[in-house]
Amino acid sequence: MKIAIPVENKTLDSSVNPSFGRAPYFLIYDVNTKESTFIENTAATSTGGAGIKAAQIIVDNKVNAVLSLQLGENAAAVLKDANIKIYKTTDVSIKGNIEAFINERLSFLDEIHAGFHGRRR
């Protein structure tokens, strides 16, 4: 079971980034082996469609669940197509959210905001 969290920095003491698509890094955490890997979010600097590209990175890393404060509609569409569950983070601490996830205290993220597509007016 692998989960992904958008994070500010490449350490477990860092905090959850409020944006999914434009988070600088993702933490990929294996709940079974307790192994953590940080990957750079190359989508963060995209002028448009960052959520889609970021979600693609998550899909390609064979993640089972995403923990995020919020999520754009396009990113959500990608994750849903890949059968990845989306949970809402409850505070800024990474460890706290992992613990809450393991203890099944996180709920599904149901507010999906419309994206902003970085396109010309």
Partner: protein, 286 residues
């Protein structure tokens, strides 16, 4: 003769000037390029005679041919494509219709289909032919509609064409003034007004368009926009006074030149001045 009406921000009286110039002329075409908020038709209340859907090209995948190489996903600068569980997913509202994915696909698995983003309506109201573009809500770019609005068959060379531009100085405005013979900048007598006038002023200078300014909502007080024109040697084409009667008629969607003699005169003489300016420009800078 194509005259574009611009203003740095909304609410300065761009549509007021456009609508009344068209109405006061003998015969004119009025083109509403403010496709996010087309309002000119609310004044003309035209009889609509034609409607055309505007579509853009969006890629479509033949899943039988796609082998999952992802070249298209990697190529797309707009991130409009994703490849999930052996399936290509296309985000239509992100796509810019550049056609790049079709070009890079080694399997020729991609083709294009039309996607409607808005409509153009043609209407008639007395002496004025109206073309109005309307972008569907949620669609991010009105440029294809503006391009179609300004396509050659709507613009008759020998006739007066008034182009009501979107506010601001973004790319949609550039599209709107590209083919104009003359630009009228409408400005309000406020600090905001000057700031915004300066932006469209830079724009028309960049495009090397001949232009002049109409000062709207003029009062007895100091007019920073007028001062700006003097300082920068900008031609003032005319002044429209601040007038609550004008405000009320305008807020009800009335065309003031059809009701009030004084305004009929103001706009007639404004139109004459502009036409003279354009003729002079064609002689001086053919």
């Amino acid at each position: 003769m194509k005259i574009a009406i611009l203003s740095g921000k909304g609410g300065t009286g761009k549509t007021l000037v456009s609508v009344n110039l068209a109405a006061v002329s003998e015969k004119a075409t009025y083109i509403d390029c403010d496709v996010e908020e087309a309002n000119g038709h609310l004044f003309f209340k035209p009889q609509w005679v034609q409607e055309e859907s505007i579509a853009v090209k969006i890629p479509e995948v033949d899943e039988g041919l796609c082998d999952g190489c992802r070249k298209c996903v990697d190529f797309c600068k707009f991130n409009a494509l994703a490849y999930i569980l052996n399936k290509l997913k296309i985000f239509e509202e992100i796509c810019h219709s550049c056609g790049g994915c079709l070009l890079v696909c080694p399997q020729k698995a991609l083709t294009e289909k039309d996607k409607v983003i808005g409509i153009i309506k043609k209407g008639i109201s007395n002496n004025v032919t109206i073309y109005s573009g309307l972008l569907n809500t949620g669609e991010p770019s009105g440029v294809p509609i503006i391009n179609r609005l300004l396509s050659k068959n709507h613009l008759l060379e020998n006739k007066l064409t008034i182009i009501d531009c979107p506010p601001g100085s973004a790319c949609v405005v550039m599209e709107s003034i590209k083919d104009a013979d003359y630009c009228i900048l409408v400005a309000e007598p406020t600090l905001f007004g000057v700031h915004n006038l300066n932006m469209v002023y830079q724009l028309v200078k960049l495009f090397e368009k001949p232009f002049g300014v109409v000062l709207n909502k003029c009062t007895e007080d100091d007019n920073p926009a007028e001062k700006f024109c003097y300082e920068n040697n900008i031609k003032i084409l005319g002044k429209i006074p601040f007038d609550s009667k004008l405000g009320t008629l305008n807020s009800n969607g009335e065309i003031i030149v059809n009701i009030d003699e004084k305004y009929k005169e103001i706009f007639s003489s404004l139109l004459d001045t502009v036409i003279k300016e354009v003729r002079y420009e064609t002689v001086a800078n053919p």
